[in-house]
Subunit: 150 residues, 2 copies
DNA sequence: CTAGTTGCAAATGCTTTGCACAGGA
DNA sequence: TCCTGTGCAAAGCATTTGCAACTAG
């Protein structure tokens, strides 16, 4: 995908987001826009500190880490981002752009690989049903050693 | 299972544990014994603070929370306990008594249900292989609303 | 004997909160 | 305007670490 497409896509994404929170009668801000931009253009999963640094340095926006944490909680509440705790200190965050996916993490270099598996999705539905649960969501993390680290 | 059986089982478990760390040329302690006892006899998944309280109050053993954290890390390293982060603050810990299992959590009452699913286990092996990962472990948490809370 | 363990308290690191001010609807 | 969001600094919490005393092997 070219940089131009990427930018166009982000503009569309941002427009949808603004409409969405407008419908919810919530308030937006410059800072929130740029946090989304950071998450959109960064392939890695970012934590709060990394987002703060990126918005400050790359986009030259004045922002405090408290604002980032508040915005991330806001985004998670309205379900446009997902947080991921891989157990190495700070939580990482990612946009909910595509369908649900899970994560595989290299315990050596901490690389994160996303995967989507229909069997897992189906199993989750079945297991919830078997236990009388009303399914909401699931997270699955597979730990291993990636090809390069072996 | 009766209380007597339970006690016998724990005695056997503890004896095996002592032999295990003796083989590894590691050192045991009274405190570690009682942390294992707390985990063994408590059905709930306990966090560090709860373990400390139980050892202190129920078994009248002098223990500090730092020791509990250090012991838990020790146990996790030699693979006799597993930690579980359900995202509500402190990590919870459980003994590795039976085979691997995953968790389903009620987002309303925070009840934890354990389940074991062969399809999930198989999928995990297959996904790791597909991505060239050397499989080590996985965690899966299904979130939903339990029968009573619906 | 001595390396690893303990309790305590202080330190750390991530996240949240109080407050006065600024800015979006 | 009004209400909510913001940056800053301080507070909060779970977890870790330094240290001197202790203890299992």
């Amino acid at each position: 995908m070219s940089a131009v497409d990427n930018k166009m896509d982000f503009d569309r994404f941002l427009k949808n987001f603004k409409k969405h929170i407008s419908n919810l009668k919530l308030k937006n801000s410059l800072q929130k826009d740029y946090i989304l931009k950071a998450l959109y253009f960064e392939d890695e999963h970012l934590n709060a500190e990394e987002i703060t640094a990126k918005v400050k340095n790359d986009y030259n926006i004045d922002i405090g880490i408290a604002t980032v944490y508040r915005a991330l909680k806001f985004f998670e509440d309205i379900n446009i981002i997902t947080s991921l705790d891989i157990g190495d200190g700070a939580k990482k965050y990612e946009l909910n752009l595509s369908t649900h996916h899970d994560h595989m993490i290299c315990t050596n270099c901490h690389k994160i690989i996303e995967f989507n598996d229909d069997f897992i999705e189906d199993s989750q539905v079945r297991i919830a049903k078997e236990n009388g649960f009303l399914l909401k969501d699931h997270t699955m993390i597979i730990y291993g050693i990636c090809e390069e680290c072996q």
